[in-house]
């Protein structure tokens, strides 16, 4: 038995040796590749920049590794840019077949390949990949779904609005990821979102309202107003935030009303929203909340008041019953 044990010791050493050799070889190969890539990139960079920056440049004729490096450079620039330059890059990549290659990868059996493909399609702004990306929203791997959602935002796929929202509701995709994608798609998403503000599920209503607040303009405030009396607290809170962001004058009364909501979280959000609207006529109501309410709403009210009427805050803080939040804001104003 001891003989076997001794062999085991040697086996351990042997495996370690293999690992070391493997490390050395891998490193050497990576270093070599990086150096070659770096040289090619340095050579091709001027052409890449020239292509990106000029309106009428012809893409250089490249082959093999050079072509790959060039495409990689363009991809890097594509991430920094918007507008016609970015569109030019996207067109080039598409012509090279890069988009097709990723579309094929989207069918791979390995989930990480599919996720990487979905991700890169977004980087390439490959709008024509939208149907496949929509399909990938249903993938069984979460990573793939998330990458697809993000990319749908980057290709501005208006038809993805519905599916994105559905995916967020069903928790197939994190709400933050879907939300950002919808924000990227932009105002085109608003009509559908407004429809969803009436959805039976309160989380859906709340999420939709939040996004309308970020995407819409003052005109969208009107349909949201009735949500201020929604039975679900999350919805009321989201509505208050959205109204604050949309900035319609007419929202002020509703928000002031919301300062009386029975849940502190809603009062907090209403107070914050009033700070954004900049409406001085809300000062009295805010003052009450800042003096007497619980910690979070009072703090939010004091902050908002500091934004819209600093003089009032300083005056109120001097009074005996001012409460800690007004005092804090007065100190901050005096900084």
């Amino acid at each position: 038995m001891l003989v076997e044990v001794e062999h085991i010791g040697l086996i351990f050493f042997g495996v370690s040796l293999l690992l070391i050799v493997g490390m050395v070889v891998r490193r050497a190969s990576i270093v070599r590749k990086e150096r070659r890539h770096g040289q090619a990139a340095a050579r091709l960079r001027p052409q890449a920049i020239a292509y990106v920056e000029s309106d009428d440049a012809e893409p250089p004729q490249l082959r093999g590794r050079d072509a790959d490096v060039f495409a990689g450079l363009l991809g890097g620039y594509g991430r920094l840019l918007r507008g016609p330059a970015a569109a030019r890059i996207a067109a080039y990549l598409d012509e090279r077949g890069a988009v097709d290659r990723q579309l094929r990868r989207l069918e791979s059996r390995r989930s990480w390949r599919r996720a990487a493909a979905a991700f890169e399609l977004g980087d390439m702004r490959a709008a024509r990949a939208t149907p496949q990306l929509l399909g990938a929203l249903e993938d069984r791997s979460r990573d793939v779904r998330m990458a697809a959602a993000r990319s749908l935002g980057r290709v501005d796929a208006v038809e993805a609005v519905g599916p994105l929202i559905a995916a967020a509701i069903a928790r197939r995709v994190p709400s933050g990821v879907a939300g950002l994608a919808l924000l990227d798609i932009g105002p085109a998403a608003v009509p559908r979102l407004l429809e969803l503000t009436g959805d039976p599920n309160p989380n859906v209503r709340a999420g939709a309202i939040e996004l309308v607040g970020l995407l819409g303009n003052a005109g969208e405030a009107a349909p949201l107003r009735e949500r201020m009396t929604d039975p679900a607290a999350a919805v009321r809170a989201a509505t208050a935030t959205a109204l604050g962001r949309l900035g319609a004058e007419t929202s002020r009364d509703l928000l002031v009303q919301a300062l009386d909501d029975r849940l502190p979280a809603v009062r907090t959000v209403a107070a914050e929203a009033l700070g954004r609207t900049g409406d001085r006529t809300a000062a009295d109501a805010l003052l009450l909340v800042a003096r007497n309410d619980e910690f979070e709403p009072a703090r939010a009210a004091a902050r908002s008041l500091a934004r819209i009427d600093p003089a009032r805050v300083v005056a109120a803080a001097a009074e005996p019953e001012a409460g800690p939040h007004l005092v804090e804001q007065a100190d901050r104003i005096a900084l």
Binding site: S16, L19, G22, A115, P174, A237, P324, H325
Partner: protein, 573 residues
Amino acid sequence: MKEALVVFSAVSLVYFAILNGLYLFLTVLAWKEMSRDVRSRRYLALDEVFRSPLTPGVSVVVPAFNEETVIVESVRSLLALRYPRHEVVVVNDGSTDGTLETLVTAFALEPARVALRTVIPTAQVRGALVSRRHPNLLVVDKQNGGRSDALNSGVNAAGYPYVCVIDADSLLEPDALLKVAKPILDDPLLLAATGGTIRIANGCRVDHGRVVDIRVPGNPLAAIQVLEYLRAFLVGRVGWASINSLGLISGAFGLFHRSLVETVGGYWTATVGEDFELTLRLHEHLRARGEPYRIGFVSDSVCWTEVPEELGTLGRQRRRWQRGCWEAMRRHRRMLFRPRYGVIGLVALPYFLVFEFLSPVFALGGLLVTLLGWLLGYLSGYYVLVYVLVSLGLGFLLSTAAIALEELNARSYRRWRDVFRMLFYAVAENFGYHQLHDCWRALGYLDIARGKTGWGAQQRRGFATAPLEVEPAALVSAHRNRSSLPPGEATSPPVGRPSQSRIRKKERRAREHRQGNPYDQSRADPEPDRTLDEARVDPSVDEAGASGDDATALGVPKPRVPKPRAPKPRGSA
């Protein structure tokens, strides 16, 4: 007598066979998980998190006690973190040096009567300071109460739904917060907390709060610790996390739901192992709630810290960790072997108890016994030699695997020289360091038996330390007694006590170590039901659920190599 010796030797053998089997298993798991992890970085979409207005804010809490040399640099680098919305809450825990003054000067701080919550009771807060130039910086000045107390104060003062806990002398990489937050942001109802990787900054060049050149330190102790930390994080945590059994968030770098920390009552002030204890308490609470939950680990999210380079300091640190481990486990001993607590109770805690906490018994004991047995002729020299070989071979394999994982992960050590030095220490550490380490931990038993509490009177030691090594623009000086991570320990060493050797003048100041608050005596037995969950409608906060089948085991293994059973074998068996 002979039988006893042989039996004990055999038991030690079995003990280490199991232990090393576990490590091998973890290593294999870690390999698989790391490969997957590296691939998934391609589509991580961190840029999206950064630019999204929907990303929730994070409050970075930094407890600071006598950190005047490093605090400004550290805070600057925290303010510069790449994250869309965050604040830095520095808690000055009654520093007796110039910590507060340097902060005031560097950031144009002015006192303001900031309204602070007191959800978690703490020592008295003396005041708060803010800066007009840096609107997201808040400094809370309070009476000394210990690191836990300072952290609790920071959690109280935090304004965002998430808190990131970090040491005052550590450096986060610019993307670290983004990376450590991403798993929680993607699934806030499931993820209760995440932790990042701690790497060793000794020997690295630091410029303006960023590590710019990663080297293996010249100091042998520090170099050995590099290996320890690699094993602990890249093998240990990655491995456990891959089977959903990660139970420990290091106190040096962790991200939590603020509401969750408040609900369980914050950190326990009467222990030196407060982060281990908090993590255990989170597990208890979350399991009691009955919903699925996870604690995640991000190997790519890096926090740099300095580790002790002197035997004395390092020894004290490890003793303290041993004690902290005990204190935390003892408080949660009800979880041991109870199916109610799932993998934590059935696997992780027992593992920590037997294979981490008790390992010095078998390591040192086994060594002595085998030595004795060989000297007395009960055990053959051949037997001894073979075990040396096996244990060395295994230890070397585990360390090599850890180094290989680091290659896969980030290839941080660019120079060949550094890689080979690590390999050298992978062998060398078995001859002396492991034994010494076990002695320190055995001394930890003594401390426990003697009922030692708190940080002890470290200032009694006179250190003939070398003058401060100050690298130009470097954040930290050479010697630290604090480390933010337990390489093989379950406990994360608490921070907040000044490092001894770092600043000689600290030793001149008699520091008093306060115990925690009296209040915590009443929290001696935490009951999840006792604390009140606030009714929460905050749309931006999703509190993590609790318990479920998700396995969570604490796992930060240190590869326990069976000690060589004999000194150099004298000739043949």
